[in-house]
Every structure is written in C-alpha cells, then in structure tokens.
C-alpha cells in the first residue's frame, strides 16, 4: 500500500523514480576459506560443478528468477577464471536478464567486500546479498514485500535474512554448528543469535533485555541459513562503521544486535517453509545439495532443466539423467539417482548407483561406483571400487583401485593400479605455497605411499586442521570432535564461521590458564581472540616472508593488538606461530633447519625481544614455539636451532629455558616430548651455566 515515498527516507531524490529503481544483488563469489581444498587451489569455488553444472549458474539463475536486474559479483580469488567463465556465459550476453558486473577486489573477508561496496557507491536501494554458492528456488517476492513494508514503518529495519525451515535433523543443514536464531514471534525480528556446537550443552546466553522486552520469542535451531539477505544501503554503512567485522553472521548480525539499545537498528528473519534454499559451503553440503538436486528437491533447477545451453540432459525412469551420446555397455547397470554427462562411457559389468559422472569420462569394466562424484574427463580403470568420493577433472584411477568414502582426488591426480585411497584423504598435485598471496600455487612432490608407484599426487594437509590439533595438544587434552565428525559425516568439513568459533571455544575451555583469555569472558571476546590470532600470525608471517623491517612488523602488530584488545600472551603466541611457520616454510624450500632459523630469527630479534621480557614470558614463548613445531617438518631440529639462536642472542634467558623445560605442559604428550628431545642437551648446558651466573643475573635485573 502506498509505496511511494518510502525510499525517500534513505535516498533523497529517489522517491519519484523509485518504480524504475532496479533490484540489485551482490554475489560474493569468494568464500575466504579453504574448505573445498584441494579443489579450490586451482579453481574458484563458484565454478566447481554441482550435478555437472557450475555452482554460480544456480546462484545467477536464482537471482534471475527473482527478477533481479543488476548483479555485482565480488571475486578476489581466481578472478581470471571467474571472469573468463562469465564472459563466455549467457549472463554477460546482450540477452542476459540482468546486467552483470564483476568486481575484482583484494578483499580478504566478506566485511572487506562490503566496505568496498559502500565506497564504490554502486548500491542505490535495497539489494539482495548472496554467496556464489547458493542453490535456491524459493520465491523472494514475499520476503521482499515484507521487507519493504517494514522499511516503510521503520527505517531502522535494515536487513531481512531469508531462512529455510528444516526439521531437527536434515542432511542439508549444517550439523557441525547449530545456529540458533531467537526471533520475536510477532514482529519477526531477530533478537538474538548464537552458534552452538553440537554435543555442547545447549545453553544460550540470551540477554535479559530480550526476555524483558518481548512477550513471545521463538528460539529456533531448525533453520537452514542459506545466506540470502535482503539489505538496505544502511547495512553497508554499518559495515563501514565497524572496520573489524568480517563475517555476516558472527560479526555483523551479532554487532548490530548488540548495539540495538544504542541505535535501534533491527534485523528481521523471514522464515520460508516452501521451496529450496541451501548453501554449498562445505563438502558435506556439497554432497547433500547434489543429492537434493538429483532427487529434484531443487526443481526446477534439476539436471534435466539443462541450465547451460549446451546441456542435453534427459531424465528417464529411476531418476537417471543422461546426456546425449552416453555409451553404456550392454551388461553395465545404471542404478537410480545417477547423472551421466555427454560422451561418458561405462564398460562391461560396471555398476553405478547414486553417482554423478561428468562428461567424457571413461569408466572401465566391472567398476563399482556408489555415491561417487566424478567430474569431467576422468578415467577409472577396470575392477575399481569407488565409494562416496569426489574425483576431479582429469583424474586417472588405475585398475583394481579402491577409493574409500570421503576421499578427494584433485585435478590431474593419477592413482596407480591396485592402490587403496583411504577414507577422508585429500590427494592433490598442487598445493598452495604458504603465503598470504594465494597466487603461488606450486606442484608438490608425489608421495608414492598415497597414490602408489607411478601415480602422481600427494596428500594435502590442511592448515586448519593443523591448528586445530595444535589447540588440542596445547591443552593436553585429546581433541576428539573433528574425528567424530568425520565418522558421522560423509566428508570431513569445516565451517568458516564455525571454525573460528571453534578456535575461540577451544582456547577458552582448555587453555584458560594461558593468560588473558579467561573462560568467563563473553563470546565476543573469545571470537576476537581467535580472530586476532589468525590475523596477527598471518600478517607477521607475511611480513617475515617479504623481509619487512622488524620495526614495521612490530608497529603493525601493536595496531592490531590495540584494535582487537588482545593480551600479551596472544601476541607471543602469534609471534611464535609465525616464526615457526616461516622456518618451516624455509625448510620446505630446501634450506637446512639451521640456515632457516638463522634467516628467520636473526634479522628479527627485536620483534621477539619486544614480546618476551620476563622469564615467564620467555617460557611461554618457548612453549608456543614447541607446540607449533610439533607439526612442522623437521620440528625437533628446528626447535634445537631456534633455542640455540634464542639463547645466544640472549632473547631467552636460561631461567626461561628452565621454566619451560619443567613446565608439565611442554611434555604433556608423546609428540611434544619427541619434538623437544633433541633440545635437551642444549637446555642442560644452559641451565648448568646458569647456576654459576646466578648472582650476576640478579644484579642485572635490579
């Protein structure tokens, strides 16, 4: 009713022409995370194929179906590929239903994108913000209407989140992290948001005012957060105001809700109970959404809708989708829920069930496939068995191989005859060279243990996991959650926001003794801590690699520390981790540990000195260094040389070493003991010296 003039509130002269105001959308093609590694090392996530169609097609099709007229696509990773793909797609043709603009950015988080968008002033009115991996067929008409109606009444209603109702347990819902939305039943206002880890005590920390102000609230955990937000330009302003926000939920939503008392800005939830909406944000979701698409829950975005103009899928009985010129041997058996791309051939006696196979694949004889995802141009040798694995473009699997559940074979990997790829292994040919510029992708060294003799590829270790284990080890408690997850889910996966949360969680619950991160602190601080650690260690590492002046690094660190209010202990940890990373990096590049240590630490003494002054601090620094080195190649050697250097440079005093050595945390586990074994001699010598010099030291300190 009387929609005229509603826009006048936000943009002055818009009131008259508002009817002509195009509906805009922002697609965040980047995920700023590594959950699809090893695949995302070589290809952007939005171009990965789901049911043989690139993910971005689903997203753009959804936007086109909602009547969007202008789309801005943010891409910062593999932008060339994204551009190349889109420039050849129908979305940039004359006939495209909307104008598409690709924005290259150097953002490292969603927050950066949003702030950049605000600066560019491209957004004129309300817009839809989605990720480049959304698969949805819901109609946004209702949500948009509600949003407009609310805006009219109250211009502080800045955002509407579209959430899909799903039951208690749902394959498409994230099981890793339960997202709880507390929604006012009457106004649909989201009044509180929290993420709860599974198997944690399901306790929400709902602020008192919420309970006081709202007569009726729904606490909902059964919602799929598909990342579709209808935002007003005000949202961008909010992002710009808080320069440290990164995640749309964890930071933005939380931040706005917290500031409600001050600014009265509200965020609403639109819960849809019809249609399909999900994000392919981890491998588990990839599996779930693929299955949803094949069993037509995403209708009409199903394979035989042939989203791409060159597709010719045709569905036949038993939910089998076949493209033209698929060759099936007479005795091969194509079971239900299978997709076969153009010119793919199946050999005699091959049985395929619940699988998606791309184009031009050659599947040998008597192959058994169940729940497999095979992309284009793969070859599978005779008598192989493939269960629930993802096999990327151009992979070749030899004869009599067994690829087990959750295995990921990245581009061009070749597996020799008779090899078994064990569960949840990530095999790749390339890896991302440690560095913040993700561009340096290098070929790794083939590991015959993984791919067999004559194969090509090695197992990829994830940084995320490494750091996870690190957290666990530090506390001396075996961290079991991840492995359990692996058991009950088909694929190992992590969730970007969840991940960070997890770190924070670990830190508080298990390492409260480590300085400032007390367990009684609010969730906000915990998150900040995790953020800080990531950011700080990465930036130091980056600077070390580029050989920046230590003073500058120090300055940067200080600024970062101020902005996130981090404690000294966190700074130490960040520095220790960064150094260890840098050394490991050098070692990998072929340097001996000794040289590596010399190169990394010597020019940057001041940096270390600044953060380790007292004896306790030195001990703690050593402890951090030790725990981080547990996972690095040649960790024990590195530790020895590092200790030596630190001692000779007088960065760590003998008492520091002694305290560290005696600290029970430094010998809490097998790995830790192993890593420090080689350093024992050095410590003994140092501590021995120390006794004699005791008096002097005392004098000095006074």
């Amino acid at each position: 009713m009387a929609p005229k003039g509603k826009k006048g509130a936000t943009k002055s002269n818009k009131a008259e022409e508002e009817h002509d105001e195009p509906l805009q959308a922002v697609v965040l093609a980047d995920s700023f995370e590594q959950r699809f590694e090893p695949f995302t090392i070589e290809k952007p996530r939005c171009l990965l194929t789901l049911a043989n169609t690139p993910l971005i097609e689903y997203t753009l099709e959804f936007l086109a179906g909602s009547g969007v007229e202008e789309v801005y696509l943010y891409s910062s990773n593999h932008t060339d590929q994204v551009e190349d793909y889109l420039n050849h797609s129908r979305w940039t043709q004359e006939t495209s239903p909307f104008s598409l603009e690709i924005i290259r950015s150097t953002s490292t988080s969603i927050g950066d994108c949003m702030r950049d968008l605000d600066q560019k002033q491209l957004i004129k009115g309300d817009f839809i913000c989605v990720y480049g991996d959304v698969v949805a067929n819901i109609s946004l008409e209702g949500a948009l209407a509600m949003h407009k109606a609310r805006r009219e009444k109250n211009k502080n209603a800045i955002m509407t989140m579209v959430l899909r109702e799903a039951g208690d347990y749902h394959r498409t819902k994230s099981q890793h992290m339960r997202r709880c939305f507390v929604i006012d039943a009457e106004t649909q206002r989201c009044v509180h948001y929290e993420q709860v880890r599974p198997r944690d005590s399901p306790r929400l920390n709902i602020p008192e005012e919420v309970l006081k102000d709202h007569v009726e609230i729904d606490v909902r955990e059964d919602l799929i957060d598909c990342g579709i937000d209808i935002c007003t330009p005000d949202v961008l302003a909010q992002w710009s105001d808080s320069f440290d926000w990164k995640m749309p939920r964890r930071d933005f939503l939380h931040g706005v809700l917290q500031d409600y008392e001050t600014f009265q800005r509200t965020i609403h939830a639109h819960v849809v109970s019809e249609g399909y909406a999900a994000r392919v944000n981890n491998l588990r979701a990839y599996d779930a959404v693929s299955r949803d698409a094949v069993s037509r829950w995403t209708y009409p975005l199903v394979p035989d809708c042939n989203l791409l103009s060159d597709q010719t899928y045709h569905m036949s009985k038993g939910v089998v989708y076949k493209e033209e010129s698929v060759m099936l041997a007479r005795s091969s058996l194509v079971g239900k829920k299978t997709v076969l791309g153009k010119a793919t051939s199946l050999g005699e006696g091959t049985v395929v069930n619940n699988s998606i196979i791309g184009r031009r694949c050659v599947i040998g004889k008597r192959v058994q496939m169940d729940g497999a995802y095979v992309w284009d141009d793969a070859r599978i040798g005779d008598d192989s068995v493939i269960n629930g694995a993802i096999i990327a473009d151009g992979v070749s699997v030899g004869k009599k191989c067994h690829v087990k559940r959750g295995a990921l074979l990245s581009y061009g990997v070749s597996v020799a005859d008779g090899t078994t790829i064990s569960e949840n292994t990530r095999v790749t040919r390339r890896k991302r060279k440690r560095g913040y510029d993700s561009d340096d992708v290098v070929h790794g060294v083939t590991d015959p243990k993984v791919v067999g003799k004559g194969g090509e590829g090695f197992e990829l270790e994830l940084d995320m996991e490494e750091e996870d284990v690190l957290e666990a080890l530090m506390a001396g408690i075996q961290h079991t959650d991840l492995t359990e997850d692996g058991d009950y889910s088909d694929f190992q996966y992590e969730d970007e926001e969840d991940m960070a949360q997890e770190h924070a969680h670990d830190m508080t619950s298990r390492s409260g003794s480590f300085g400032s991160v007390g367990s009684e602190e609010s969730g906000e601080t915990r998150r900040n801590a995790a953020d800080f650690h990531h950011e700080a260690s990465n930036s130091i590492f980056d600077s070390l690699q580029k050989g920046h002046d230590p003073d500058n690094i120090q300055l940067e660190l200080k600024a970062l520390r101020m902005s996130s209010n981090a404690g000294d202990s966190q700074v130490r940890r960040a520095v220790a981790v960064a150094f260890s990373k840098r050394i490991a990096n050098l070692v990998e590049a072929g340097k001996s540990p000794k040289d590596a240590v010399a190169e990394a630490i010597s020019p940057n003494q001041r940096l270390v000195r600044a953060c380790v002054k007292a004896v306790e601090e030195q001990a703690e620094f050593m402890l951090f260094l030790q725990t981080d080195l547990v996972h690095r190649p040649q960790g024990s050697k590195t530790l020895l040389f590092a200790s030596n250097t630190l001692a000779t440079q007088d960065l760590v005093e003998a008492e520091g070493f002694e305290q560290w050595w005696e600290d029970e945390r430094s010998s809490a586990s097998e790995d830790l003991r192993a890593v420090r074994a080689e350093t024992k001699q050095l410590v003994d010598v140092l501590v021995g010296d120390d006794d004699e010099e005791d008096e002097d030291d005392d004098d000095d300190e006074d």
Binding site: E21, H170, W297
Partner: protein, 483 residues
Amino acid sequence: MPATTIPQTPSLSTYLKSLKHNDIETSIELFISLLKRRQIKNSRPCAIATTHLLLHVVAAERIRDASKLIQHVRDVGRRLVAAQPREMAVGNIVRRVLGVIREVAEEDQDAAGGTPLSPPTPLTPVPGETLQRPPLPTKMSEFSPLHGAAALPQDLLATAASSTQDWQSEDAAQRPLLPGSSTSYAGQPPSVTSLFSILQQPAGRSPFATPPTASQSPLIKPVPQTHDDEVKEKLDIKAEVINGIQELQDELDVVDTQIAESALDHIHSNEIILTHTSSQTVQRFLATAARKRKFTVVHAEAYPNDHEATHATIVNGGKKGSGEDEEGGDERWKPLTSMGITVILIPDSAVFALMSRINKVIMAPHTVLANGSLLAAAGAATIAQAAKHHRVPVVVLSGVYKLSPVYPFATDDLIEYGDPSKVVGFEEGEFMEKVDVVNPIYDWVDSELVDLYITNLGGCAPSFLYRIVADHYRVEDIDLSAK
C-alpha cells in the same frame, strides 16, 4: 499487487510486458529461461507467450522471403522446444505459425502465377499408423511426429514438391468434413460452426487459425520447400503472417467459450459429473451448462500439485494465481456453487469409490497426443481407469492448441517430475534422507480410456484426432528438430 516497487517475479504477464521494449533475441532467451525455470508453465500460458513472441519475431523480420522466414521461425521454435520439450503447446504453436507462413507463401505464389486457389489436397486417410513411421528417436523432442498417420502420405508429399499443381486439382470431395464425422459419442455435433465462422469472417482470405468447416476450403496443401524465386510483392507476406498469428491469438482467447458452446449437448439435468483439477476450460464448460440445468459436480482435488488452485476455484470461482488472470479481458466468473450447483470436493483416492455414481467424467488435458492419448494432471489416469471399470464415459475438453502431432512412443519420457517437497515437506529431514519421493506432474492416459474429445471445432473420437492433426500441421513442420 500490494506494493508496486517490488520487482515482480518473472511470469507470463511480466514477460508479455517486456516483449514490447526488449529486442527479439533477448525476448527469445528470456522465454527460454522462463520455460526452464517453469515460470511460464501449463499449456495456455505457454501458447499465449509463444504466439506473442512469434508475432514479434515475424514483425521484426526484414526479409520478405518466405522460405527464410520459415527457416528463422523454425530455428526459434527449435530452441523453444528444446528448452522445455514437455510443454508441447509451444511446439504446437510454432508449427501452426509455420503453417500460416507456408500458406501465405503459397497464396502469394499462386497469386503470382495466376493460378486460382485450388481445392485442397485429396485426402486418403491412412488409418494404419505403421505406414511410414520414422526411425525411433533418441530423445523426446524428436518424438516421432506422426508421419504415417498424417493424411498426407510421404511419397505423395515427395512428389508434391515437383508436381504440386497436377494433383491439386483433383477432387476434394473425399475430404471428410471435420465435425460431422466425429460424433461417436451420444452428443450432437456441436453448434460451434456458426460461431466459429463468424469469428473467421473478418479474417478475410486467410482463415488459418483453425481449419474451418465445410463452407471454407481449408488451405492445406503441400508445397515446394523452396520459394526463393517467388518473392513478388503481390502480397505483403509479413502483414499476412502477422494477421494469421493474430488470428491464432484470437483463437486462444475464445477457445474456452467455443468449447463451452457445446456444454448443453453433453450435460443433462440431474447428472453427476466428476472432474479433476482447476481447469479454466472445464469450469467454463460447467458454468455454461449450469445456466440452464441443474446437476452435481464431484471435484477431485488433484493433490499435490493443483489442489490449492482447485480449492480456490471451487470457493471463489475464477482463477487465482495460475498466471492466467493477467489476460485482462477475461472476465472472472462466479463459482459454480453460486449458480446453485452442488459441488463435492473429494480427495483423489476417493475417485474409485464414487465412480459408480458418476454419470460422466470431464477432464482437461495438458496435451493431447496424435494417437488420441493424452497427458493430464497426475491423477487423471486413475480416474480414467476407474471410469473404464464402471463404464462411465470420459469426455476430454481440449483446445486445438493442445493437440500435438507428437506420437507417444515412450510415455514415461513425456511425464514431467516435479518437486517432491509438495508430497513430503523438505523439513522432514530424516524422511527425505531415507525415502525416495517422486512427484509426477502428469499422467498419461491411453486413448482407449477416452470416449470423446471436445475441441473448439466440436466433438470427435480419439481415433479421429489424427485428422485434426493433419488439418492443422504441415507434415514438413511436424519434426521441428530436423533441418
């Protein structure tokens, strides 16, 4: 629409609006994506959109050469059909338009050559469909067009190219008149004729829209495929074709009224009629009968794809939210109940139990196929089977635009599978994880289960449909995918 600022979800109405300011290629692409996204679905919206689109295509065409125009329309048609092969109305309309162009071209040629319009081809009905069946297609869009069943034998056609004029002059008396021979069912030959000819009158010399009745000679005749040499300005081909397409649009507008004309011949007092889905055609038909007679309607709700529309139709009448109310001119009508008709809503499962009490089943198809079988909303097959069991006559109301020359070789492939969440909610995570749910949107009903088709040309038996196909579609156009 409550707020004008809300950009509408694309649909038929927005599409028709956009046609005016978009260029042709954009419009075609847009229509293709709307078809793919199922934002335009069901026969009538598809047919309407196709006619509008082709009108623009022809209007924008510069070439005055008929054969090029045919080629162009054919190309467009092929793309449209490939986008959603199961919406056969699209293909039907494309074929009709192609027929119009060919006809104009011939007329032009005739006018140029000074040959008077000769009576159309002699038709020797070939009932056996086995005659020249084309090789089995590999995909659905190539579904074997009814070459054999079409009244023009292939060889005749082949020779036709060279010797058109010779046999054109043969006696046309063999040609059976359409409506007259079609009354296998107890009803009278319907009185559409008069109305129909009235409609056709202003069209003057190009009555392409529907091959008319006895008075006018249907201009169906085979034609050489090449017209390169006869682009004479005697007739403005473009204008004529546009006229023809507009007549098609008119036909789509009045098709329901025409079908409803014969309602009184089929519905008698105190009958109990069973119907299915929220079809506008059926409602119109029943409403027309209800003005004069009292009867009872048993309405199966067509769960899960159409039940909401069905409920709305029963309660409110008219049409809601099915994309057809935007036609503007169409008046909304009151529900049957307000006319004193008892309407009983039943679930689909109760059909068999009630069938023994039913006098007549009236259905509206999605598509009618050349052999007299049909595709209709899921549940139709059950109803037809139950009717067969109880010997209840099944009457199908279908506009000619739904009649497709496609022959159903693999009926499974014709059926579209929809969104299973209408059967089991997406929320039921555990259920959907373990159970495969399918939601077929259509049912295929064999021709032997249908007793009578009522088209806008009148009633006819399923076995006679091939004639209507032959009258409406050129053999050359039946297989659109062929070059």
